[in-house]
């Protein structure tokens, strides 16, 4: 796990584990079993763990969504009480946004970002592990509230003063506030880590404009996070101080301004929307060119429109607040800014269409999901533009039309992008291909289910069905085509078709895991650097650091232009290129060593946070653990020193302890 030595004769990499103590305790040395995962700092293992955690929360959030749809399927629903319903939609949204979407994008970013830029790990491997564990602790704190007196019930934007102690007396909101602060710290550390990685650790020759679009979009997202997370942290701290320590920030009787929370929340909340969607845009910008067998159309336009979406995304937050009486000037400014953001988004859509135009399209599941994103996101984007028109938004605000809109962009957009990524990169991560036949079932059930669930919500919303109502009554459901009962039932049936689609995916994962068939090294004839290594990649990613000459470097190593016909001709097989790398491997590769501190530190932070609910003693214990691990962390060199290894044998070679798995 640490220094990989290659004796002159063989090329089999070996792991040399650190044995001695530096810092307060012995370093973890396991290269097998659960310890290997718990204390790892390898960005690939951390990425996989992010993915597993996000998937678990996706299922939890999905079950919550199904309960909501069951409740609304019939008039006077009896499945949930009003109180439980409030908790259900709050936790559904919170879980999906903070515990599924962001970590799943984090999984892809963690795994592929170093690989795409030709690096051996991220800039701060231990901080990377810390981000993961803090996220898990935050997620546990959030969901523990279900068993400790009820979950948060104020909607995912938790408007104050509705979220104050008077209207929300259970500890649910306290757990929510603490859990999100911890998850926020995790995200902030992760984003700093990834920005430094991209800016500082690119392979020689990889200028910014030779970076894959996925890496670019992740970079933009991390900048959004660095500058938006502190704002919600302020909001969360204010709410925490109000609920637990008697502050008055949202106490209207003292003259407080209820819009303060809304501004702070949406200054974070709107960039957050792009935090969710841009990784998916990045993924399909890799998938579409690969399966259309054409380079991405207008690469610089895709990159800069992504960056400008990020930039303008900071200046449109108040369009979430049109109904709150901001005054005509503010409304006009934010309205126009919101319309403007449709331009770079449209640029991207057209670039994707033109990438496919005239290509020899290969309809794999990954490609189907990518095309699905382009279509469904466009529908959601168009309904989004209708919100930017303030008078129209005043009609739509807090109705199911809004719910329809953001599920089209987030489910049809983001989730489809992530699924496209699953099918595209599965052979890279696990060395096995997901089953394409099951993939087709997965895709079509999801497409049909998603449109059946969220399509009718446009009609429901324009008919005036409000969001967050726990029952509707037959007496007021209307008649004919616009009968609320009919469309609510369709939406509920759709949600179960959608769930079956996702079940197909899970079955596919199990079947693939059991299959013995190995994936080829370059199954898709791919274009970017992550394919220039084995599947799954070795612990050190690349046998030698690639030198980059082109955008789509891997493609240009396989293809050369035939000057006579001006077409690209294959001159090398991807598999051969990967094997050639192994022969030219570097002899002396340092990798960061595993560490106990990230997981210990995050447990300390978790206890510190829970102390807000459970009192000072727990806070003191949490603080002590946090401080102790922080010192242990600082005193432990991230890369084990030579002295930290088994003594070398007579030839001066470091002793081989375990072969690399």
């Amino acid at each position: 796990m640490a220094i990989i030595e290659r004796p002159g004769t063989g090329t089999t990499p070996v792991v040399v584990t650190p044995q001695q103590t530096l810092g307060a305790v012995k370093r973890p040395v396991a290269t097998k079993g659960w310890r290997e995962w718990l204390f790892t700092v390898d960005h690939k293992k951390i990425g996989i763990m992010y993915g597993v955690v996000a998937m678990v929360f996706f299922i939890i959030g999905g079950v919550e969504a199904l309960l909501i749809r069951l409740q609304l399927a019939m008039p006077d629903g009896q499945i949930l009480s009003a109180d439980k319903y409030n908790q259900m939609f709050t936790m559904h949204a919170t879980t999906m946004v903070f515990l599924f979407a962001m970590p799943m994008a984090g999984a892809f970013a963690n795994y592929f970002l170093p690989l795409q830029i030709g690096a051996r790990d991220v800039a701060f491997p231990r901080i990377n592990a810390l981000s993961l564990w803090l996220l898990i602790i935050g997620g546990l704190v959030l969901n523990a509230s279900w068993f400790l007196g009820g979950a948060a019930d104020g909607g995912w934007f938790m408007y104050a003063p509705n979220s104050g102690p008077i209207f929300s007396p259970s500890h649910g909101v306290d757990f929510w506030v603490i859990g999100l602060q911890i998850a926020g710290v995790a995200s902030l550390l992760g984003s700093i880590n990834l920005i430094v990685t991209v800016l500082n650790m690119r392979a020689p020759g990889m200028s910014l404009m030779k970076m894959p679009v996925f890496t670019w979009m992740i970079l933009v997202v991390q900048f959004l996070l660095v500058f938006s997370l502190p704002v919600i942290t302020v909001a969360l701290v204010l709410l925490m101080l109000q609920r637990s320590y008697g502050a008055t920030f949202f106490d209207v009787s003292q003259g407080a301004d209820p819009l303060l929370w809304q501004h702070l929340f949406w200054i974070f909340g709107h960039p957050e929307v792009y935090v969710l969607i841009l990784p998916a845009f990045g993924i399909i910008s890799e998938v579409l060119p690969t399966f259309a067998r054409k380079p991405l159309f207008g690469y610089p336009f895709v990159v800069f429109s992504g960056a400008s979406i990020g930039l303008v995304g900071f200046g449109v937050w108040a369009h979430h607040m049109f109904a709150s009486g901001l005054g005509p000037v503010s409304v006009a400014v934010f309205s126009v800014a919101t319309m403007a953001i449709a331009i770079p988004t449209g640029v991207k859509i057209f670039n994707w269409l033109l990438t496919m135009w005239g290509g020899k399209i290969w309809y794999t599941t990954a490609m189907n999901f990518a095309i699905g994103l382009v279509v469904l996101f466009t529908i959601g984007g168009l309904s989004g533009v209708t919100h930017s028109v303030a008078p129209s938004d005043t009609q739509q605000t807090d109705t199911y039309y809004i719910v329809a809109h953001f599920h089209y962009v987030l489910f049809g957009g983001m989730v489809f992008g992530l699924f496209s990524g699953f099918y595209y990169w599965w052979p890279k991560v696990f060395g096995k291909m997901l089953n394409e036949k099951l993939g087709a079932w997965n895709f079509w059930f999801m497409v049909i289910g998603m449109n059946m669930t969220f399509g009718p919500m446009h009609i429901l919303g324009l008919q005036g069905q409000p969001r967050r109502m726990y029952v509707w009554t037959e007496a007021r459901a209307g008649e004919g085509f616009f009968n609320l009962g009919f469309w609510n039932l369709i939406a509920s049936i759709g949600s179960f078709i959608l769930a079956v689609g996702i079940l197909f995916f899970l079955i596919n994962v199990v079947i693939t895991a059991r299959s013995k068939q190995q994936a080829p090294l370059d199954p898709w004839d791919a274009r970017t650097l992550e394919w220039l290594t084995t599947s799954p990649p070795k612990a050190h990613n690349f046998d030698r650091i690639p030198v980059v000459h082109h955008l789509d470097e891997f493609f240009h190593r396989k293809y050369e232009e035939d000057t006579a016909t001006h077409t690209m001709k294959k001159v090398a097989e991807g598999e051969d290129l990967v094997r050639a790398e192994a022969d030219a491997a570097d002899a002396h590769i340092h990798l960061p060593s595993p560490s106990y501190w990230p997981i210990l530190l995050s447990i300390g932070v978790g206890l510190l946070g829970l102390g807000v609910v459970y009192g000072i003693p727990m806070m003191v214990i949490g603080f002590a653990i946090t401080l102790f691990s922080a010192y242990g962390w600082v005193l432990e060199p991230s890369v084990a020193e030579e002295i930290d290894f088994e003594p070398s044998d007579n030839d001066g070679n470091t002793k081989e302890i375990a072969p690399l798995g």
């Binding site: 800039a123 701060f124 430094v196 650790m201 109000q242 008055t248 003292q254 003259g255 600082v634 991230s638």
Partner: protein, 204 residues
């Protein structure tokens, strides 16, 4: 904080590892963190500015602020930036004992500032401004308290750095570690200049 960067710095000549920007990973990360902190204090300062005149109960800001006292403690904090600069410069010359001396003085000045703040808070509470008294009270204590915590963390970092240099347990380049602590320290000082001006000097 020293991660692969340490390694990169240590072995830069050996392996030819250079960062793409020329800045070390640690320094770039610190700048990004401080950029993020700007927004954190931005949010807190905005909250204070929104609420500073809203006193439904308890004393009004201008009635309790002791400007001469806070000016002196602000001066003490600003002087600590000077000693921090001297510490960084000593560290870059490789003079360990001078570095430790200046770091300790910086920490003492910082602690003096925090002490002044504790004194000020107790005085205000005696005069009737509690945390829950008014919107002004809540937002004042939150903003200055957050800053006080930042200074305290800085003092802890300074003293830890002295300890680590003394025991020779530093895991990164010594000068860089001192410089990183310095960046954080100067940032906290700059934030105080803004808070002092907006909270104390401009009448509400």
């Amino acid at each position: 904080m020293a991660e692969t960067a340490t390694h990169t710095a240590d072995h830069a000549s050996e392996h030819g590892h250079e960062t793409s920007t020329g800045l070390t990973n640690n320094k770039l990360a610190m700048w990004l963190f401080l950029g993020s902190e700007c927004l954190l204090f931005g949010g807190l300062i905005s909250t204070y500015m929104l609420y500073r005149g809203r006193v439904s109960d308890g004393p009004h800001p201008m009635a309790i602020f002791d400007i001469p006292f806070t000016s002196i403690s602000s001066f003490v904090l600003l002087m600590s930036s000077l000693t921090m600069v001297l510490a960084v410069s000593s560290a870059q010359r490789g003079d360990d004992s001078r570095t430790n001396l200046w770091l300790t003085i910086t920490a003492v000045l910082g602690a003096t500032f925090v002490g002044g703040q504790v004194y000020e808070f107790t005085a205000f509470i005696r005069e009737g401004l509690g945390f829950s008294t008014s919107l002004f009270g809540s937002s004042f204590y939150t903003l200055t308290g957050f800053h006080g915590i930042h200074v305290s963390v800085g003092v802890l970092m300074l003293l830890s750095t002295v300890g680590i240099i003394r025991k020779n347990k530093i895991t990164g380049t010594k000068a860089e570690v001192v410089e990183l602590v310095g960046l954080y320290w100067h940032f906290v000082d700059v934030v105080w200049i803004i808070i002092f001006t907006l909270v104390y000097l401009i009448p509400s």
